[in-house]
C-alpha cells in the first residue's frame, strides 16, 4: 500500500463486499423459505379441498339412507345410489359445479362381491395433484333388507 488513504479505501471496499455477500445470503435464505412455505400452503389448500369434497359427496342427501336407517350415520341407500347414476349423467354440469374434478367409485367389502362401481367421473386430462380419500360406508339394500359394508373412494384432481 502506497499511502494511508489507499489502505482506508481498501478497508471500506472489503467491508462493503462482505456486507453485500451476507445480505445476498440472507435474501436467498428468505426466498428459499418463502417459496417452500408457499408450496406447502398450496398443498394444504389442495388437501383441505379434497377432504371438503369427500365430505360433501358423502353427505349428499341424494344418497343418504332415510326411514328406518336414517339414524345410522354412515348409511347410503343402494336404490338411491343406482338411481343417482343416470341423474349425475343427465345433470353433469350441475354436479360438476358441486364436485369439481373428482372420480367417485365404490366397492363392496362385505359381502365380498367383486368389481368397482364408478358413480361419477370428471377426471381431467391434465392435472398436477391427485388426492384419493377412502371412506367405509354401510350400503342399505331395501330389496333384501340388508346392511352391507362398502368402501367409497373419492379421488380429487387439481
Amino acid at each position: 500500500m502506497k499511502n494511508k488513504g489507499q489502505f482506508q479505501m481498501m478497508e471500506s471496499v472489503m467491508f462493503l463486499v462482505i456486507f453485500i455477500i451476507l445480505a445476498a445470503f440472507l435474501v436467498v435464505l428468505y426466498f428459499t423459505f418463502s417459496i417452500d412455505s408457499q408450496k406447502a400452503e398450496i398443498e394444504i389448500a389442495v388437501d383441505k379441498d379434497s377432504i371438503d369434497k369427500s365430505q360433501i359427496i358423502f353427505n349428499l342427501p341424494e344418497i343418504k339412507c332415510s326411514e328406518k336407517y336414517s339414524n345410522v350415520n354412515n348409511c347410503i341407500d343402494l336404490l338411491k345410489l343406482k338411481y343417482l347414476e343416470p341423474i349425475l349423467k343427465s345433470n353433469r354440469a350441475y354436479y360438476y359445479n358441486i364436485f369439481g374434478n373428482v372420480k367417485i367409485e365404490w366397492e363392496y367389502i362385505y359381502p365380498d362381491l367383486p368389481g368397482v362401481n364408478v358413480l361419477f367421473d370428471s377426471e381431467p386430462e391434465n392435472y398436477l395433484r391427485k388426492r384419493p380419500t377412502e371412506l367405509p360406508v354401510n350400503i342399505y339394500n331395501v330389496n333384501t333388507n340388508t346392511m352391507s359394508l362398502a368402501l367409497l373412494k373419492i379421488t380429487y384432481y387439481n
Binding site: E11, F15, F33, P111, T133, L135, P136, N138, S148
Partner: protein, 173 residues
Amino acid sequence: MKKGQTEIVGLIFIVLFVIIIGSVFLLVFLKSGDDTFSRSEIKTSILANKFLATLIETEIEECSRKSIKSIIKDFYEGDTQCLVPPYDTSVNSKEYLEDNVFPIILTKIFSDKGRAYNFSITYVKGGVEEPPFYSSQGNFDKQYSTIRKAAPFIIPMDNPQNKIIFNLITKTN
C-alpha cells in the same frame, strides 16, 4: 492491528451475530407451522373412526341378518349360535365371525390397500376385561409414516357394568 481494522472486525462480528439470530428465529417460526395435522393424518383418522362405526352396523346374512354389534352382544348374553342357510346349520357365532367375516373385511380395507392395522374386540364384565373376543394384526411391525388410533367404540350391555369395546390402530403412508 489498527483502530480502524478493529472496528471493522467488530462490525462484522455484530452483523454475523444478527444473521445467526435472524436465521434461528426464521427457522423456529417456519417450524411452528408443522403443528397442523397433515392430510394423511386426517384421512387416516376419518378412515379409522368410520371403519368402526360402519363395521358394527354391518349385517351378516348367514347369521339371521343380524348386525355384528347384535351378534357379539347376543354372544355375551348367551345366544352363541348362528343359523347358517340354506339348512340353518348351527355354528358358533364367534367362530363364524373369526373365520368368515373379519379376515375378509380387514384384508380388503387394510392389507389390500397397503395399510397396517391392529384390531381388537374386548368384553368388560363387571369392570374386569376378559380375554379378547377377537384380535388381529396386519403388517403392524412395518414402518409407516402415519399412525392413528380410532376413538374406542363402546357397546353398552343391559348390565351397565358390562360393555363391549372395539379398538383399532391403523398405519398408512
